[in-house]
């Protein structure tokens, strides 16, 4: 017997509304299978399960809003006897009288507050810090066009972006670096490579850039991961959040997982799939919850340099401007027009310093000079 609980679909997501079950009692489910669609109030997200088993009970009904961590369904592992008795109802949240009063004043749901008092009881301080988190909620950028009440979505998304970016600018001491990079070799390589591919399999420069970022990050753990509880948590894997602007406004930044480990073809496929699903509003929980760095490519807009704002709790963001021919000094001292891009870095000064950022951009440039190795 095990329980399937509502996962956090974003660093600070508090609750979600079940839209749809993709399974029913008696169904066998497998690790990685999408079993439910949950509305995080900003987007419909397909939620995967991470264990095998047989669904014995669907606890949450579609339409219900439940806190992160609440039991949504119960499962039986293979070979375990069916369970017939009802599990005990969860105990009332232990909270001090003062905490309950404060929670009412601040309109905080005390059941969702983690207690730090005696026996884990919720105290006034816990309520106040929970309220402070709600006041500056995390980025809830996902939008789903298929979800009802889409009219409000634009405003909600704007509110969510406002909150996330306000938090970023309030909490994260950014530093910014930028560097023009010659894309002569990358462009030539890409042209040759695409010439021998069917149109449907052609690569975008954005994919090369993405891979180059992930490869370069190998030596820069201080630019990858999260800043939580006053400390940097480096991530070994690079899950790159890709900023995708949506037609109705706003943007999302779901992750492509393990970018460093995947081939360009796989990345191209992943990127196409991600953009399509982002715009269709069917992103997956795992894609939303764990980008370790974000890459923002504003090349289509004609800008020269992106001054990117970090998406908390990440610690860095890489921007790419428009690929443009610019005068570029040659080794013989002459000038020649070469396709170039300005790569920029916004990084968290609590975790890294400008020197490290500069080395990273240099490494990124070096990688882009060897497109065949990407």
């Amino acid at each position: 017997m095990s329980e399937f609980t509502l996962p956090s679909l974003g660093a600070d997501m508090d609750e979600g509304k079940l839209l749809e079950w993709k399974v029913k009692p008696g169904d066998r489910v497998q690790r990685g299978q999408v079993i439910a669609v949950v509305d995080t109030s900003k987007a419909a997200v397909e939620v995967e399960i991470w264990q095998d088993g047989v669904v014995s009970e669907l606890v949450t009904q579609p339409g219900e809003t439940i806190p992160v961590g609440a039991v949504m369904a119960r499962l039986e592992g293979t070979g375990e006897p069916a369970r017939t008795d009802k599990p005990p109802t969860p105990p009332r949240t232990a909270a001090s009288p003062a905490a309950r009063r404060r929670a009412r004043e601040l309109a905080v749901d005390i059941g969702k507050v983690t207690g730090t008092g005696p026996h884990g009881a919720v105290t006034t301080e816990d309520v106040e810090s929970a309220a402070a988190r709600v006041a500056s909620p995390p980025e809830k950028q996902l939008v789903a066009e298929t979800v009802p009440a889409a009219v409000d979505r634009a405003r909600e998304m704007r509110t969510a972006i406002a909150a996330a970016m306000s938090r970023s600018k309030r909490e994260i001491p950014h530093y910014y670096l930028s560097q023009p990079i010659s894309m002569q070799r990358a462009s030539e390589w890409l042209t040759t490579e695409n010439a021998r591919r069917p149109i449907t399999e052609r690569l975008l420069m954005a994919v090369l850039q993405l891979k180059a970022v992930a490869s370069a990050l190998g030596d820069f753990p201080d630019l990858n991961g999260f800043y939580r509880d006053g400390a940097h948590q480096a991530s070994k894997a690079v899950h790159a959040g890709v900023a995708i602007s949506l037609r109705q406004g706003g943007l999302v930044a779901p992750a492509i997982h393990d970018v460093g480990e995947r081939t360009l073809d796989e990345l191209m496929q992943a990127l196409s799939d991600l953009v399509r699903r982002a715009r269709a509003g069917s992103l997956r929980a795992s894609e939303m919850s764990d980008p370790t760095i974000t890459v923002s490519n504003l090349g289509e807009g004609g800008v020269e340099t992106v001054f990117p704002v970090i998406y908390p709790p990440q610690v860095a963001i890489v921007g790419f401007g428009t690929l443009l021919p610019r005068p570029w000094m040659q080794s013989d001292g002459g000038l020649r027009a070469e396709p170039t891009v300005v790569a920029s870095l916004g990084a968290d000064h609590r975790v890294s310093d400008g020197h490290r950022g500069a080395l990273f951009l240099a490494e990124l440039s070096r990688r882009l000079q060897q497109p065949e190795t990407l």
């Binding site: 003062a98 009063r101 207690g115 730090t116 008092g117 005696p118 105290t123 006034t124 301080e125």
Partner: protein
């Protein structure tokens, strides 16, 4: 000028005698011996046997005589050597002193002041180590005060004599060598006092535990309140402090069951429930007759370490 608690008591008695000729002192060994704790030393010589009267060993008789004198217009101070012997006078104190005003329809008041020493900590074993303030604080018609500070040891007697009700002043032999200056020559017997400001927890106490509580408060950023008046309780400073700290521990040298600590906790629950962030806690005497051996006596009493531990229990 720095004086001892004992000297403060003595000066208070002298002041009382000088300020009102109706004031006299009676009790066991208060005259020729100068008082069991030397609080009335020299008074017989100064004020004479009319005003400083040694009594026979009968608490019931001489407390009753004091009540009679008060009814007759005098301002008697009756010294009951220790609270352990006050049990012999309970009928006079409870059934007579406390009730005559009510039973006479307000025609008679009983302005008697009973001084008695109380508390443990001096290896006097079970029968001479009681802390029974709560018994008296239970009785309507009595005022009960606990002198824990130099100011109160000195000043409470005057305030008690000025009151038309029977007042019992508890004095603490465990504190007799505490030194300090008289900072307030005149004190009231109506209010509790904050003796140390703090933020994390309210520590409510009275009497002998005050200094242990102050010591513990240093460690836990406690706000220390000396109740001073055990009946009628002045809860306002306690409630105000609890509203600030949201946590409280009551430290009481008496036994836990039916204790003053229990009463204070109940009132906090009644009046400040929604301000609490943790259950109330108390540190009391262990519920055993006081052992004679020093280490066991210490183990049976509230101590700073126990207070600190109780406070820490209010935090995860």
């Amino acid at each position: 000028m720095t004086i001892t608690y004992r000297e403060a008591l003595r000066q208070g008695l002298y002041n009382a005698f000088d300020s009102d000729e109706r004031v006299f002192l009676m009790g066991e060994d208060v005259g020729r011996y100068g008082g069991t704790y030397a609080a009335s030393k020299g008074m017989l010589e100064k004020y004479g046997p009319e005003r400083v009267r040694d009594t026979p060993l009968s608490e019931l008789a001489f407390v009753g005589a004091g009540i009679g004198a008060a009814l007759g217009g005098m301002r008697p101070i009756v010294e009951v050597m220790t609270v352990n012997f006050s049990m012999l006078a309970l009928d006079q104190i409870v059934n007579t002193a406390a009730m005559l005003r009510h039973m006479s329809g307000g025609q008679f008041s009983v302005p008697v002041v009973i001084r008695t020493s109380t508390g443990a900590g001096r290896q006097l074993a079970a029968q001479h180590s009681n802390t029974l303030e709560a018994w008296f604080a239970h009785v309507p018609g009595l005022k009960v005060v606990a002198a824990a500070t130099i100011d109160d040891a000195h000043g409470m007697i005057r305030a008690a004599l000025a009151d038309s009700n029977p007042v019992i002043i508890f004095e603490y032999p465990a504190l007799f060598e505490v030194k300090g200056e008289i900072s307030r020559p005149v004190v009231d017997i109506t209010s509790a006092r904050v003796l140390r400001e703090g933020h994390r927890v309210t520590l409510v106490t009275y009497g002998a535990c005050l200094y242990k509580t102050l010591q513990a408060a240093e460690e836990v950023d406690g706000e220390v309140i000396d109740l001073r008046v055990l009946r009628p309780l002045d809860m306002e400073p306690v409630l105000a402090s609890v509203r600030k700290t949201r946590r409280a521990v009551v430290i009481d040298e008496g036994w836990r069951s039916g204790s003053l600590a229990a009463e204070v906790m109940a009132r906090i629950m009644e009046q400040a429930f929604y301000d609490l962030d943790a259950p109330l806690a108390r540190v009391c005497r262990e519920e055993v007759p006081m052992p004679y051996p020093k280490h066991l006596e210490e183990a049976a009493l509230p101590q700073p370490a126990k207070i600190v531990a109780a406070v820490k229990g209010l935090f995860a």
